[in-house]
């Protein structure tokens, strides 16, 4: 079982005629995802990877009965593409694009709060329910079906931890990359809440990193609301304060908030064991199951 996506999910790919859109639409289809349409302004009538392309998301949804979208649109046009998916009232929009201006995302977020659509990302690798569907850029072959839920702020770290899990025979129910930007749609707490409610998720892994206070808030949520056991991992222990490590989220403020240690402490306080290595995270999950 799974959360947010399964083999009934019908996907429209926004930006399917671009290099990344085309490649990953192909990868998604190969994985078995129901990619039913593409949407690119001015490219209506074309076909990519055997999938019909429409000029608007509306048309694509209308014609192909899509209920989710994956967005591979360059940063300058990405916020507009997300707005379009929100106005089409999809169940789920997954924004892969990295580098969307923060003020654009603040506006998107405002609109999002007025809709029933779930937004994943931006700047995220997407979501996968192994054996059923993947929406995004995650490498399908490292995942396996199972009962471990995973939520992470970092794409490549997600792959790393999944690799360690799969290696041990610990399959995943759903793995979600929520993205590393300062303003994102789905939060750790949203994902954890859904995993807690999912009867087929028996353990959860939460991968966080330095910057912001999302992990601390998630830790409080786990302590107060979750019976499903959670194991954690926090990247950035060796990061010096004040330096931006890659994307906007990963910066330790000078005043000591948002550090790896404050996140690890918060998780430990909530009864969540935090691995020193991805290998140790898999150890903890093994102990749970």
């Amino acid at each position: 079982m799974s959360i947010f996506v399964d083999d009934d999910t019908r996907v429209v790919v926004q930006g399917i005629t671009g290099g990344e859109g085309r490649f990953h639409a192909g990868q998604m289809i190969e994985y078995g995802t129901n990619v039913v349409a593409g949407a690119v302004p001015g490219k209506g009538g074309q076909e990519v990877e055997g999938v019909p392309v429409y000029d608007t998301v509306d048309e694509a949804v209308e014609a192909e009965d899509a209920d989710a979208s994956v967005i591979f649109v360059p940063p300058a046009f990405a916020a507009d593409a997300i707005f379009e998916s929100l106005d089409t009232d999809l169940d789920l929009a997954v924004a892969i694009t990295e580098g969307i201006p923060t003020q654009d995302m603040a506006k998107v977020n405002k609109r999002l709060s007025e809709t029933d659509t779930r937004l994943l990302g931006p700047n995220c690798p997407g979501i996968i329910t192994p054996g059923e569907a993947k929406l995004g850029i995650l490498p399908g072959n490292i995942f396996s079906e199972g009962n471990v839920g995973l939520v992470s702020r970092s794409g490549t770290l997600t792959y790393q931890v999944v690799d360690n899990l799969t290696e041990r025979g610990l399959g995943q129910s759903t793995a979600i990359g929520i993205g590393g930007d300062p303003i994102i749609g789905t939060s750790f707490i949203d994902a954890l809440e859904a995993f807690e409610a999912d009867t087929d998720t028996d353990a959860v892994v939460m991968c966080g990193e330095i910057g912001g206070e999302d992990e601390e808030q998630a830790a409080r949520f786990i302590g107060e609301h979750m019976d499903t056991p959670v194991a954690g991992f926090i990247a950035g222990r060796t990061a010096p304060p004040g330096k931006r490590m890659g994307h906007a989220g990963a910066i330790v403020s000078g005043s000591g908030t948002g550090t790896a240690q404050s996140k690890i402490d918060a998780l430990n306080d909530a009864g969540v064991p935090v691995g020193d290595t991805p290998e140790e995270v898999a150890d903890h999950v093994e102990d749970f199951l």
């Binding site: 990344e20 940063p75 300058a76 892969i96 990295e98 580098g99 969307i100 201006p101 923060t102 003020q103 654009d104 995302m105 603040a106 506006k107 977020n109 405002k110 609109r111 690798p125 850029i137 995650l138 490498p139 490292i142 992470s152 702020r153 970092s154 794409g155 490549t156 770290l157 997600t158 792959y159 790393q160 690799d163 590393g180 300062p182 303003i183 991968c207 990193e209 330095i210 912001g212 206070e213 991992f233 990247a235 950035g236 222990r237 060796t238 990061a239 010096p240 330096k243 931006r244 490590m245 890659g246 994307h247 989220g249 990963a250 005043s255 790896a260 020193d276 290595t277 991805p278 290998e279």
Partner: protein
């Protein structure tokens, strides 16, 4: 991207925010010409991208020509927290009776811009925020609607700003919000806003940080971007456009994705080594990026061994392998041992291409890191 004070002030002045009369000077002669025009007292302010300039000796008030010359000589060319001062802003001194802090930034927790006002201006506002958060009044702005003028008034009154200057301060704040929006700022603040004996308000400092992701639609600001680097390696990283942070250790680290690269750093430390750098080649890197990344770490004299950790999603293992081969085949002798770990998208294709005569290969992250740490130890012994 940070703007210099003089750049931010010129944007402020164009928008109608009162700022002191000022000139930019890059030599002592120019500074003296500037004070001759402006008069005394005059502030000589180092234009470098570091905080706490005043405390570090980068801001001095000259009361006569002799002092102006002395301070200009002292500050121009000085090393301020690792950065050389190439220019100073010479600015008319403001005779003030009170100081305020006003600012606009993004509250990432709320996903909304927030206005901030404090009557405890003129000091380190971060310390105020930490020790006495109630001393800063805040008002969130709906980013879809923008700022309503009443909100600026409300937060100014809430902060306890004197009634006779409150509306002028609110007007500055409204203008700051407009500038924040128009320029895609991530942060914009004035600390202090000075209130003179005549009850005029003047923006005596100006901080403006721009969201780099938005520079595509801010061509004028993009032109103001002035790289400031602590060393040649950071300069090189800037030219290549890498996310790079130099650290003090000797194990060079290259990877894709901030989370995985940070994890690689953490593991180097965990297994007893010491990371020399953070270098993220980003998503979807092609062979050329990989070559540039290896050039970066090989250029760092502190690096004794390298670990290359790629977990492909949008990045493809075959592209990475091609880049590693191309980079290393240029050398008769490879300067530092390179351990490669390739996983994820097209990793198998990558492993087939990878020239294993030139690199060591490990299958897992843990093994790759431990081997690199060992390689570094062997060099230092």
């Amino acid at each position: 991207m940070k703007l210099h004070e003089y750049q931010a002030k010129s944007i402020f002045a164009d928008a109608g925010i009162p700022v002191p009369d000022s000139r930019l000077a890059t030599s002592v002669d120019e500074a003296l010409d500037a004070v001759d025009e402006i008069g005394y007292p005059a502030a000589i302010k180092a234009q470098v991208h570091v905080g706490g300039r005043g405390k570090a000796g980068g801001i001095k008030i000259a009361t006569d020509r002799e002092e102006a010359e002395e301070y200009a000589e002292e500050i121009l060319g000085m090393d301020l927290k690792g950065y050389t001062v190439d220019s100073v802003l010479v600015e008319a001194g403001v005779d003030f009776v009170d100081e305020l802090y006003v600012g606009v930034t993004m509250d990432r927790g709320e996903g909304e811009p927030v206005l901030m006002v404090s009557t405890e201006g003129g000091v380190n506002i971060e310390e105020v925020a930490e020790e006495n958060p109630d001393a800063i009044a805040r008002e969130h702005v709906d980013p879809a609607f923008g700022l309503h003028p009443y909100q600026a008034r409300k937060v100014v009154y809430e902060a306890g700003v004197d009634a006779d200057v409150a509306l002028d301060v609110a007007s500055i704040l409204s203008t700051l919000y407009d500038l924040y929006e128009e320029n895609d700022a991530s942060e914009i603040e004035v600390n202090p806003v000075m209130i003179t004996g005549d009850r005029d308000v003047v923006a005596a400092d100006a901080v403006m940080n721009i969201d780099e992701d938005a520079l595509f639609r801010q061509p004028e600001l993009a032109e103001m971007a002035e790289a400031s680097y602590e060393d040649d390696l950071e300069r090189k990283a800037g030219e290549y456009g890498f996310d790079y942070v130099r650290l003090s250790g000797n194990v060079g680290i290259i990877g894709n994705g901030a989370g995985l690269v940070m994890t690689t750093l953490d593991l180097v430390d965990y297994y007893g080594g010491s990371p020399a750098n953070f270098l993220d080649i980003g998503g979807g890197a092609k062979a050329e990026r990989v070559t540039q990344a290896l050039d970066m770490v090989f250029s760092d004299d502190n690096v004794d061994a390298v670990v290359f950790n790629i977990f492909g999603g949008i990045t493809r293992g075959d592209e990475v392998a091609k880049g590693i081969n191309e980079a290393l085949e240029q050398f008769d002798e490879i300067p530092k041992k390179v351990v490669v770990r390739l996983a994820g998208t097209n990793a198998e294709e990558g492993m087939e291409i990878l020239n294993t005569d030139l690199v060591e290969v490990e299958k897992t992250l843990e093994d790759a890191v431990q081997r690199a740490v060992k390689n570094a130890e062997e060099v230092t012994q």
